[in-house]
Symmetry: C2
Subunit: 520 residues, 2 copies
């Protein structure tokens, strides 16, 4: 029976690529329109909308195919990692407010790197201890380690739809920065686990994983920075805009993609590479193109990221109704629920275990500064990272299925559990984020943060690049005026010297607001 | 031996999607940069550059793989028809100067529809008569008919890089319009041939093909128009830009793609649908979005089209070195060359057989107008459509291979011949276009055309939409002033009444320069 279904599915895949694509594009359009109509409603964000629409279309397909199938397309984690993830991460790097990102660099790295390790450790330990007690056997050492990485990657899309970078810049920058670094860390950690020798787990192996991680982190960053600089240099010296702005845009898109693919090819972390490539491109390359190219790239990258995200959440919604996986997973409903609740609890715990101590550490290091992470902030940061999303799903697929299909009951259970955790955390935790923020920061947080910037119109809030760049020179003045304050914090000092170096040597070569093109 | 190569190729395809993609993207970047550097050199256009770079990279791969392989990616005509063709055709519709397109509508249709039938007939008859005389047997009736469709689709990319729509608007609009309609016609004709009953070829079958064609043409157009209007209506009523311009852009891109997929799903001509969808979108939907979305969509569509075109020509260049096909094709070099020369001759003949008579017919119908197609123009139109391009290649693959692979010597010969014809016509005919135009229109054609518009900067010449829209109202005035002149020509009259209807009923509902948004 199942093989017939599989056969029919393959047939449908090979001969009618058109049907599923058409349906998927149609559902994407629907998502877009409904997402727009629900924009005013801050309780239901776009991820939740996409998941619900995915569930509904899954139900339709299930009914139409007589309970055989709930998918329009078969998920393939290669599609995710090759086509969907790069635009999302690149856009994150491209639109990040660089000044704030780098000013909070150490805190972000603490949360995003050290935090993932702590969280993964707690989840692995918890699962190892509790899974057998819930009657769930059969996972190997590598699987347990993978589970740690899978459930440590956060999805902060929901939170970012509620937080505003003008109202709470520090909070926004921490949550956003952590979200990006955290995604990268969990993927890198996951890959490190795939390669490590799990038969002899001791302190040497742990050191080896950490060593691997540091190596990957540095080389990937270097590759991303290099690609970004090369693109900027090409755009500056050849000045494509002279003939056609189409070429500039194409080059930026292709080079960004190339950086990701190169990293994957060299077994580095594409996600980190493309993130840093995005940062470098928005810092240098973006200033070397014509005005219309600038507007276009800003929107194109945001659009690709948006479509990719919607695509993923839609898929997750459909996947939740995949009868086959539920059948393959032989666990009873009660057991399945207890495993899920346990996972949720471990996620809550694992995150609490690093957010509060690391915040304290960060506050300790930044004694001299005014903007400390208050306890209310810590609670929001803790909550904001509880959602699990696309990366978790993709990693679970990679670990527990073979191109989206699995016949192993234990593996099917792990996949369905991941889906439940993602659905539940996105819907319930995501739903409660807004009330929590309103409760925690009742005065709209204006008094709690010291960086008060000019209010931007809604659209620009999503695309904060321009306004930041415009205020770059005033920031610089401010920075030099408050030099004595900066000296108290090493990050500030590094940032200050970096800006001097940047203005003196980098921008004249690679372009930037202070470089040759007068219209910047 | 061959099966091992095939096996390895499959393995490389499945497990290392990353390697070929990376290489291809890198080569695309290279093309872009070299294309920019050669921009000043009008002799070498971008198609030729891409083909040459494709040949060079093919040679490298051939050497590196010890003569086994010259491909980075395997061509799959599904990829072409699902992903590469839609953006090219949509962009053509989106950027076309609608006024001139519709003013010359009848002439364009004569060239693009009737012309393809005449040319295909001559090529089919010639091949049927000459192929056996050159010792080339084995093609069936359907194959002969397909050859007619394959070699009737023109590629006018080269020509359009030489012609300027400000200098020679009539010529540009005819060549561009014919190029688009012609592509659509040959694909539709090709599909009609696939479905027809070739065992009984008589006048009834011919009538049937023509009937099919008319049906396809009308339904496809209707679908494209409907999708375009629906998009415009959604954008106008919901006014997405209020919240985020990302959604507007995504919706336009997705709806355009949806129209193509829907048409393919309903067995219509996606190419026609997406072309008309593009026209409608640029006429209505485009005016309902924010300023930045307008700039972005204009560039995004042009970029996607540009990348897709470069991709195709690169591939053609690589494919020319596909050793396997040359081996499979058992024909001697001499015979192969004679077949190719014969095909080129038939293309020259077939095109001459409709350009000159149909131009005369068009001049006859437009007696009252000043802008007739002079004999020099006719020669340029004839020459401009001699290049064969991506559509020919894709159709040849569809007819003669199974997902890019063929073991039948005759079919391999047909594919290699198509590649040679495409290479030769693009390189040699394309190379000679510029000198021909300079020779034929020495005064830069300013005196020969009566529509003299304001000079636009180079970049805008590629993206002529804005300037046209800005001058829409003045055009209307001009049109009503010269009402008596218009009466002499039916097309002008239809166009005039259409504009009245458009302004009174369509634009208030679907949006346009005269509709509610004041910034237009």
């Amino acid at each position: 029976m199942e093989s017939i279904v599989e056969f029919m599915r393959n047939l449908a895949q090979q001969h009618a690529q058109v049907v599923p694509l058409t349906l998927f594009v149609a559902v994407l359009c629907l998502c877009l329109i409904i997402g727009h109509l629900l924009e005013e409603n801050r309780w239901v964000n776009e991820s939740i909308t996409a998941i619900i629409i995915g569930c509904i279309s899954g139900t339709f397909i299930l009914v139409l195919s007589n309970g055989k199938n709930s998918h329009i397309l078969r998920f393939n984690e290669e599609i995710f990692f090759i086509y969907l993830l790069p635009p999302i991460i690149f856009n994150a790097g491209f639109q990040v407010k660089k000044k704030q990102f780098f000013q909070n660099f150490i805190t972000i790295m603490l949360f995003g790197v050290v935090g993932v390790f702590i969280s993964a450790f707690i989840i692995v330990a918890g699962c190892r201890w509790l899974f057998p007690r819930l009657g769930f056997y059969g996972l190997k050492a590598r699987d347990y380690l993978a589970v740690g990485a899978i459930f440590s990657s956060t999805d902060t899309v929901c939170t970012l739809q509620v937080l505003h970078q003008d109202e709470t810049p520090l909070l926004y920058s921490l949550v956003f920065g952590e979200g990006v670094v955290n995604d990268a860390t969990s993927v890198v950690l996951f890959n490190a686990i795939q390669k490590m020798d799990v038969t002899r787990l001791n302190s040497m192996t742990t050191l080896h994983v950490i060593g691997d991680f540091v190596y990957l982190f540095l080389t990937s960053t270097a590759l991303g920075v290099t690609t970004g600089l090369v693109t900027a240099y090409i755009l500056k010296t050849l000045y494509f805009g002279r003939h056609s702005s189409i070429r500039e845009i194409s080059l930026m898109v292709l080079m960004a993609y190339l950086s990701y693919m190169l990293a994957e090819l060299l077994d580095l972390s594409g996600i980190l590479t493309v993130f840093f490539c995005g940062i470098l491109m928005s810092h240098y390359a973006w200033h070397n193109v014509t005005e219309s190219s600038r507007i276009t790239t800003r929107h194109v990258f945001a659009m690709m990221s948006y479509v990719a995200e919607t695509f993923i959440f839609l898929y997750v919604g459909m996947d939740a109704l995949d009868i086959e996986k539920w059948k393959t997973s032989k666990l009873s409903f009660g057991n399945s629920m207890s495993i899920c609740s346990m996972l949720m609890l471990l996620i809550l715990l694992g995150r609490a275990a690093f957010v509060f101590p690391l915040s304290a550490l960060s506050n300790c290091m930044n004694r001299g500064r005014v903007s400390l992470i208050t306890f209310r902030h810590q609670i929001i940061i803790w909550w904001a990272g509880l959602m699990r999303g696309a990366v978790s799903i993709a990693l679970a697929y990679k670990q527990f299925t073979n191109a989206g299909v699995t016949w192993e009951p234990i593996f099917a259970t792990m996949v369905t559990n991941t889906i439940i955790v993602v659905l539940f955390s996105t819907m319930v935790f995501g739903f409660l984020t807004k009330p929590l923020i309103v409760y925690m920061l009742p005065q709209n947080a204006n008094n709690q943060d010291n960086h008060q910037e000019e209010k931007m119109p809604k659209e620009d809030a999503r695309l904060p690049l321009l306004s930041f760049e415009e205020s770059a020179t005033t920031n610089l003045q401010r920075a030099s005026e408050s030099f004595s304050m900066l000296m108290e914090s090493p990050v500030y000092t590094i940032h200050y010297y970096w800006r001097k170096f940047d203005n003196a040597y980098m921008r004249p070569v690679f372009g930037g607001p202070g470089s040759s093109h007068p219209e910047c």
